[in-house]
C-alpha cells in the first residue's frame, strides 16, 4: 500500500510539473508580448525593454521557469530598495492587469466556485443516481422512458444555452428570481439562495442527465451478471439483491466520474460562471484569458490541474476500499 501511494504521488507530481512547463512554454513562445500590451499604443522600445526587465520577461526560458517554480515553494522578492515587496510561498506572481497577488485572487474566488459546485453536485447526485437506479430496476416502464428522455435532452443541451433560456424565462419574463450574483451567505441568506438556485439547477440538469444514463446502464449490466442471478436464485428478496449485491459494483464507476467532475468544477465552472456573472475561479479564468493576463492564467491552470490530480488520487485510493477486486490486484 505504501509503495503504491508513493508511486501514485510521484505520478501526480509529474502531471503537475508537465502542466506547469507546457503552460509556460505556450506563453513564452506563442503568446503576444505582455509588455507591449501593458505599455499601450504610445510606447517606446526603451519603455518596453524596461517593462520586460521589471517583469523578468527578458530572462531566458529556463531561468523564468526556475524563478516561477522557486516562487511556488519559497516565495519571491520583487523590486529593490524601498519598493521591494515579498510574495510569500506559494507565490504565483501578480496580475498584469490589476497588480493583485494571484494567490490572493484565487483564494478570494474559490468560495464562489465551491458553493456552486457543491450545491449542484448534491442535486445532480440525487437526481442522477436515483433516477438511473429506478430506471434500471423498472426497465421499460413509463418512469424509465421519462428518465431516458431526460438523459438524452440533458446531455444534448449546451449549458450556456440552457442557462440563457432559463434566465430569460425565470428572470426576465416571470421575474421569479433575481439576476444571479455571488452574494456571500453571511450577507443575505435569502438572496444567496435565490442567486445560486438557477446556476445550481442548470449545472445539475446537465450532469444529472449524464449520470442517470451511466447509472442506468451500469445497473442493468450488473443485474445480468452471474452473482446477481445466483443471489436471486437463492431466493433473496428483490430489494436485498439490489442493495447487497448489485448496488456496489454498479456505483463504483460513478465514484470515479464524480471525483473528476467535481474537482473540475471546483477549479472553475467556466461557462456557468461566465454566463451568470458569478465571480468564481472559472470567471477569473475566462476574464484573464480575454486580457492575456498570463500570471493569472498560469495560476488558474495550475489550480485546476492540482484539483483534478488530487481528485484522481482520492478516487484511486477509495477504490481500494469500495471494490475488493482492486485490492486483490485482479482487475
Amino acid at each position: 500500500m505504501v509503495g503504491y501511494l508513493v508511486r501514485r504521488l510521484a505520478a501526480c507530481v509529474i502531471v503537475l510539473a508537465v502542466v506547469c512547463v507546457f503552460t509556460f512554454m505556450i506563453f513564452f513562445w506563442f503568446s503576444p508580448d505582455p509588455a507591449a500590451q501593458i505599455c499601450g499604443k504610445t510606447c517606446t522600445p526603451d519603455r518596453i525593454a524596461q517593462i520586460r526587465a521589471n517583469l523578468g520577461l527578458d530572462q531566458p526560458f529556463l531561468e523564468q521557469l526556475r524563478v516561477f517554480v522557486s516562487g511556488l515553494f519559497a516565495g519571491r522578492d520583487w523590486g529593490t530598495g524601498a519598493d521591494a515587496m515579498h510574495c510569500a510561498a506559494p507565490c504565483l506572481g501578480y496580475s498584469f492587469q490589476t497588480n493583485e497577488s494571484v494567490t490572493d485572487l484565487l483564494i478570494d474566488r474559490l468560495p464562489v466556485s465551491v458553493t456552486l459546485a457543491t450545491g449542484a453536485a448534491v442535486l445532480w447526485l440525487l437526481v442522477g443516481v436515483l433516477g438511473g437506479l429506478v430506471s434500471a430496476v423498472r426497465r421499460d416502464s413509463l418512469w424509465d422512458k421519462g428518465v431516458l428522455a431526460f438523459g438524452l435532452v440533458g446531455i444534448s443541451l449546451p449549458i450556456y444555452f440552457l442557462a440563457l433560456v432559463l434566465q430569460y424565462l425565470l428572470v426576465v419574463k416571470l421575474g421569479w428570481l433575481p439576476f444571479p450574483r455571488a452574494v456571500p451567505f453571511t450577507e443575505d441568506p435569502v438572496l444567496w439562495f435565490e442567486s445560486y438556485l438557477m446556476p445550481w439547477v442548470v449545472l445539475a440538469i446537465v450532469y444529472a442527465a449524464m449520470y442517470s444514463r451511466i447509472v442506468r446502464s451500469q445497473v442493468i449490466d450488473t443485474l445480468e451478471q452471474g452473482f446477481v442471478r445466483t443471489a436471486r436464485a437463492k431466493g433473496l428478496q428483490r430489494h436485498l439483491v439490489l442493495r447487497r449485491h448489485a448496488l456496489r459494483p454498479s456505483l463504483t464507476p460513478v465514484v470515479t466520474l464524480f471525483g473528476m467532475d467535481f474537482a473540475a468544477l471546483l477549479g472553475g465552472a467556466l461557462i456557468t460562471e461566465t454566463v451568470f456573472g458569478l465571480d468564481g475561479v472559472g470567471k477569473l479564468a475566462s476574464d484573464s484569458m480575454a486580457t492575456n493576463d498570463q500570471p493569472v492564467i498560469m495560476g488558474v491552470t495550475l489550480l485546476a490541474a492540482l484539483l483534478v490530480v488530487v481528485a484522481n488520487l482520492v478516487v484511486d485510493i477509495s477504490y481500494r476500499f469500495l471494490d475488493p477486486r482492486v485490492r486483490r490486484g485482479t482487475p
Binding site: 502531471v15 438524452l152 444534448s156 450556456y160 451511466i214 473540475a264 467556466l270 454566463v275 484569458m289
Partner: protein, 318 residues
C-alpha cells in the same frame, strides 16, 4: 457515452463500448437502424442539416443573402438595432430573421455555421478515431512495453485539465487558421478516449480462438491485426465515432462561446449563441434559433449512436 462532462466542455468519456460480437454486415445494421422510428427521425434531421450545410452557397443564391453582408433596412436603428417587425425579423426576405445590430441574415449564418461546426467535429472525429484505433490496437494486441508506454500517455492525457488547457492554448494563439487549430486541440485531448476502449477490446480478442488459429497457421502479426482483430472492432469503432461527433460539436460550440474558438466574422453556432447573450432579453429568437440547431444536431447524433450501440450489443442483426 461520448458526451463531454458538461461544464468542463471537455472531451468524450468513453464509457460503455459495445460488446464485440461477430462482425455484422454494415447493410444489415443500417437496415435495422432505419427500422427504429427514433433513429430514423434522427437520420432524417441530420440529413436535412447536412444538406443545408452542403448547399449553403446554393441557398445563398436562392435567398439573395450571404453570411457576411449587413442589411440596415431590416433593423430599426431607433430601437438600438432590433430587427424590424418583431419575431427576430423573420420575413419572406430573411427566413430565420436577422442579427440584431447589423442585420446579417440568420438563415445564411446558420447554414454556413453548420459547415464550420460539422467540418470541425467530423475532422476531429476522423483524426481521433484513426489515431485512437491505431494506438489502441497496438497497445492491446502487442502488449509489453508498447502497451505500458501508450497506456501511461493515455492516463496522463486523461488526467490533464483539458478544458482549461485548451482555452489557455487557444487564447495564447490569437491568429492562425482557427478551424484547423480547433481540430488539432480537440484531437490531442480526444484520442485517448477511443484508444482506451479499443485497447481493451483488442486485449480480449488477442486470446480468442480464431486469432490463435490464425497465429498457429503462420499468419504474420500485421496480417492478424488487419484481417482478424480490426474487422472485429468495427462495431465498437463505429459507435465510438458516432458518439464522438456530437461531443466535438458541443465542445467546439463551447470554445467558440467562450471566444477562443471560431472568430468572427466566420459564423459558428456557439459564437452566435454567445453574441445572443447581450440580446436575448429583447430578441429571444436570436438565441433560440442557433441553440435549437445545436441541440438538434447533438441529439440526433447521440440517438443514432445509442441505437447503433444497442443493435450491435444485442447482435440483433440477421
Amino acid at each position: 457515452m461520448a458526451i463531454p462532462a458538461p461544464d468542463t466542455v471537455g472531451v468524450p468519456s468513453g464509457a460503455g463500448a459495445p460488446a464485440s460480437g461477430a462482425p455484422a454486415s454494415g447493410r444489415a445494421v443500417v437496415r435495422d437502424l432505419l427500422r427504429r422510428p427514433g433513429a430514423a427521425i434522427a437520420v432524417g434531421v441530420l440529413g436535412l442539416i447536412g444538406a443545408m450545410a452542403l448547399a449553403a452557397p446554393l441557398l445563398a443564391g436562392l435567398t439573395g443573402w450571404d453570411q457576411y453582408s449587413f442589411d440596415p433596412s431590416a433593423i430599426d436603428s431607433y430601437s438600438g438595432g432590433l430587427p424590424r417587425g418583431g419575431w427576430g425579423g423573420i420575413s419572406g426576405d430573411h427566413w430565420f430573421g436577422v442579427e440584431p445590430g447589423n442585420g446579417r441574415d440568420m438563415f445564411m449564418r446558420i447554414a454556413y455555421g453548420a459547415r464550420v461546426s460539422l467540418a470541425i467535429a467530423i475532422s476531429a472525429t476522423v483524426l481521433t478515431t484513426t489515431v485512437g484505433v491505431v494506438l489502441g490496437t497496438l497497445a492491446g494486441y502487442f502488449g509489453g512495453w508498447v502497451d505500458t508506454g501508450l497506456s501511461r500517455a493515455m492516463d496522463f492525457l486523461m488526467a490533464f485539465p483539458a478544458l482549461i488547457f485548451m482555452i489557455a492554448l487557444l487564447s495564447a494563439l490569437p491568429g492562425g487558421n482557427r478551424p484547423v487549430l480547433l481540430v488539432l486541440v480537440l484531437s490531442v485531448f480526444g484520442w485517448p478516449y477511443t484508444a482506451r476502449v479499443v485497447r481493451g477490446q483488442a486485449l480480449s480478442l488477442r486470446n480468442q480462438e480464431f486469432v490463435e488459429a490464425a497465429r498457429a497457421s503462420g499468419a504474420s502479426r500485421w496480417a492478424i491485426v488487419f484481417r482478424e482483430v480490426l474487422p472485429n472492432l468495427r462495431g465498437t469503432i463505429v459507435v465510438l465515432a458516432t458518439l464522438a461527433v456530437p461531443s466535438y460539436v458541443a465542445t467546439e460550440a463551447g470554445l467558440s462561446f467562450l471566444g477562443v474558438g471560431v472568430t468572427p466574422p466566420t459564423p459558428s453556432w456557439g459564437q452566435m449563441i454567445a453574441s445572443a447573450a447581450t440580446w436575448y432579453a429583447v430578441d429571444p429568437l436570436f438565441l433560440v434559433i442557433p441553440g435549437a440547431f445545436l441541440f438538434a444536431t447533438v441529439v440526433a447524433f447521440t440517438v443514432i449512436g445509442d441505437h447503433l450501440k444497442s443493435i450491435l450489443d444485442e447482435g440483433a442483426v440477421h
